[in-house]
Symmetry: D2
Subunit: 338 residues, 4 copies
Amino acid sequence: MIIVMQLHATDEQVASVVEHIRASGLQEHVSRGSELVIIGAIGDENKLDVGRFEILPGVERVSRVTKQYKIVSRDSHPAGSVVKVRGIGIGGPQIQVIAGPCSVETQEQMDIAADAVAAAGCRLMRGGAFKPRTSPYAFQGLGVTGLEYFQAAARRHKLPIVTELMDIRMLDTFMEYDVDVIQIGARNMQNFDLLKEVGRVNKPVILKRGLSGTISEWLMAAEYIAAGGNHNIIFCERGIRTFETAYRNVLDVTAIPVLKRETHLPVIVDPSHAGGKAWMVPALAQAAIAAGADGLLVEMHPNPCDAWCDADQALSPEELKKLMGTLGAIATAIGRSI
Amino acid sequence: MIIVMQLHATDEQVASVVEHIRASGLQEHVSRGSELVIIGAIGDENKLDVGRFEILPGVERVSRVTKQYKIVSRDSHPAGSVVKVRGIGIGGPQIQVIAGPCSVETQEQMDIAADAVAAAGCRLMRGGAFKPRTSPYAFQGLGVTGLEYFQAAARRHKLPIVTELMDIRMLDTFMEYDVDVIQIGARNMQNFDLLKEVGRVNKPVILKRGLSGTISEWLMAAEYIAAGGNHNIIFCERGIRTFETAYRNVLDVTAIPVLKRETHLPVIVDPSHAGGKAWMVPALAQAAIAAGADGLLVEMHPNPCDAWCDADQALSPEELKKLMGTLGAIATAIGRSI
Amino acid sequence: MIIVMQLHATDEQVASVVEHIRASGLQEHVSRGSELVIIGAIGDENKLDVGRFEILPGVERVSRVTKQYKIVSRDSHPAGSVVKVRGIGIGGPQIQVIAGPCSVETQEQMDIAADAVAAAGCRLMRGGAFKPRTSPYAFQGLGVTGLEYFQAAARRHKLPIVTELMDIRMLDTFMEYDVDVIQIGARNMQNFDLLKEVGRVNKPVILKRGLSGTISEWLMAAEYIAAGGNHNIIFCERGIRTFETAYRNVLDVTAIPVLKRETHLPVIVDPSHAGGKAWMVPALAQAAIAAGADGLLVEMHPNPCDAWCDADQALSPEELKKLMGTLGAIATAIGRSI
Amino acid sequence: MIIVMQLHATDEQVASVVEHIRASGLQEHVSRGSELVIIGAIGDENKLDVGRFEILPGVERVSRVTKQYKIVSRDSHPAGSVVKVRGIGIGGPQIQVIAGPCSVETQEQMDIAADAVAAAGCRLMRGGAFKPRTSPYAFQGLGVTGLEYFQAAARRHKLPIVTELMDIRMLDTFMEYDVDVIQIGARNMQNFDLLKEVGRVNKPVILKRGLSGTISEWLMAAEYIAAGGNHNIIFCERGIRTFETAYRNVLDVTAIPVLKRETHLPVIVDPSHAGGKAWMVPALAQAAIAAGADGLLVEMHPNPCDAWCDADQALSPEELKKLMGTLGAIATAIGRSI
């Protein structure tokens, strides 16, 4: 921790800060310049509370120097981690595109969707049975019936399934229906009790970034899961909220190289929710792969015009197939495969 | 719903939009200008999905005209609502300042805090037993023991208590310990399952605005609670996330007059979390009352330097008392009381 | 400057940083902890470039400790400054409300406006002759003719005039027409050549905050003016750009106490541009004064419905008069006058 | 223009809106639903002022339907435009990477830089002679001497030069020194007088996006230039300001496909200023090209450690050369060349 004293701070004020540092079991290093006194607190910073130093008389500002995330930090595991889902690796040289509809609607819709996902060359499938909707009057998902349709459709192609968990009380049901990857949605990135619970199960978790989640908060949200024992975490960038109103969110591609440097865990991107329009998806998907993402989460619907939600952002099966071709060429250009 | 067609949209494209409107049981009004065709869909807009129109060929953009919140809308209840907490009205001419520590620490701390809250002239008390913390390694609150300390301290002064609920599974415990007002924190503004549950109980709810929650999303989050039957909802502005890094959040005072116009429910402000520093609290609290807020949620600790969390943002008992005096004068200036 | 080394930084890397510090004529203080090495560079920090240290091998991050603004800093002038405009003080105990129309339209409109400004008890008048408009096809202001109308109207009431300068080449004209206060608009907060020029003249300057200007950038923009010799600078908060779309900008009241602490110069607020709607202005104006602002810049039009620009945000003469009454009561409540 | 009336608006209020529409020479279309009345104003919308309708009694909200930019709109020129700079096309199938140092420092530095730019296969060169700096005490550029060094270095390789114009009064000097492409910086995106002036000369202009410039404002800023007669405009995305503090700006790749749809003009990206760190540049540059950008503006310095400004964001000559190889492969993958 570094404490910068105010201009003209007195010797007593400096002494008081030093006393507080020692009382916490750390050591101080005092640097006196012509204008400013800077005090470093050396030792286990987790024993210190920034706020308690900031209110000491004469203190200008206080900043931490060590990271508050440990298990998910690349420092703890310099080589990258590959999360395995029924034998399929996420985070390795092969890029994984997880495709499927926004919401599970009918068995037939899911069967056709699963065929299209497999035909396009994707190895995992997505679909929502429980839907977080801004309005209480919007379609909230089929629930458990949706899980049934989804599993029935996906198993015909041996596609592992990815679906969102919103309510802690449904976790047992997810285990029972053998959901392969649990998705935590953007609005739940800091639903700490939910994070703790998925930290106790042995299933890979996709952790979406909150609408205005900082990189640091996101890493700490993952640390909540990891601290429970579950290290199979996949970060998913899905666009952030900004001042721009011409599109729903701003896909933050810079997060990709930054996360890859900060954490050993895989990073994927959801270009569908980021832009909010199907016609933007190819450009955003291509950008994500070119920037180093380990995979994508893409919405595809057998017949977008009839989708029960987010109709305007789903690709058609043909569009998905075409996109997979372009992504393959880009993957090759940067030394990866798809 | 209003559908603006693209420049040069064909008659067939217009006809197709009209057909979709009729198929949904609504009526169309087509306005043909020299350059543009605009189509209005008249009837129950909730039957229409914006996305499904946006992907029709020739459509430029689609916008809703009716509000998606009904029960919380001022249209449904033109006079303002007063939420009663054990006889104390929130939303009436009298302004309510809810004060207390960030977190419950010990019985002694809570006893002194309750004395100070009452002595300052406040009529309700706040305190956290379950704490949402960004880091999994930070103090997470005393839990149920904290509720016990809190009630014991507050009852000596007959102060109704306000505390945060994070986990659905704790709701029964909150009812058992007779928590007077349930607070939903900023990070849970769109935890829809939690909102639905507090919609089923008969307790006033303080709904904090999400870190980047829009006015519209916030109103719809309240509608989730109201739709369950619980209409005793109090909005709490607590600062929003912006580009500015000189302070933690930006207190959005504009939200006060805007919410008072959009909803009949009371609006309070948390100046402590907004600014993040105790020295900013008086200015922000004064601004909130002057802008028309119905109350405040203020952090006060018997001894801020020793607080277990957010030490730098708590007022001392003396500072709270002094602030109450200034707020009283401002309340009088705008025709209210405290 | 504080340099935090990476975990596992080598002794050679530390030595290289130290060497760079010494080469710049400063002294180093090296703090070695169990995990981290932190290096302080003590001396005149302005000799150092953060970027050149950030790219040295083994460096994790670098931060400045001294402020980059000197003349405008409160450190240089602990008592507050009062800017005088023809004998009227801005920044003293008396609050100044500067009112008038968005744009100068006709001599008659300005005459009626000046009468209303004086009748409401305001002591300065605002009005735009050169207008920054987002669209090149919108009304751009009357130009020099506008200055003539404005001065003719204001002089009858001895009201000093405030008007915006957009183009460096018009500065001589402003001096010739004896504009009393030069306003630099939000879009020009970092138009550095314009700032340098107004730094060379002997006229008070109102410096509006940029749409997404940070407190720190704003202070440095003022320092550009001050460095030229003109210390008569007034900061004007006018709302910042955020994700919220329910209103034009978010009035940042927190900026008021923060600026008053950082600088000795006066701080005023423009509630009209902040909210963008006349009905929001009273609440925002009241909040600004209650939070400690030294004055306001308010739009008032003799007949808002006929205004040539921003018709929806101007108060009528009656509304202004009523607002002045409420503001007077709030000023009294916080120990000031109006 | 579409006017949505308030719930319970009276017939008189509707009639008054209609009257205002007719008075402006347009035609009204009134759509009466069970709950709402919506009025369309058909005709030349530029004759109408949104604000004047918003304050009419009974009006809920008003929105424009036509775009306020004409010349730069793709509607006016459905095929894309190629801007030619001494025979080199920007906006065609060939991607252009414009590289060079942040600021011109010495003749030797520029000579080495020009050699490296040409050796890497780039066809245009960038360099700053006039620098916009946040602090008045930072290096402000070499000025005219910088232009001389720059031209002397670039001419040896026949590289057209790109450099920033900040001050209107320097435009003649830019013409005299035969600057090939005039760059308008982010802080001047809405310096309308500067835009008007560069609209009058016959030189290509790179218009950078403002720190928080919306797509719509950016298009209208370009329209200011185009309205003066200069249609050789190149948009340059350089990252936007958001809540994230882990990197300087957020590169908005979504702006690329959206601009390509809205305007016929070329779109390039500056990955150096977006991320702010050299190690982020390859990922961001790759993302930009994969998303469809027509070119890049990249900082390269012969010896980044010695750069006079932005040392931490410049690529070395070797890094630039390597990046060009990867970009070439990505260009091929999406059917373009470099």
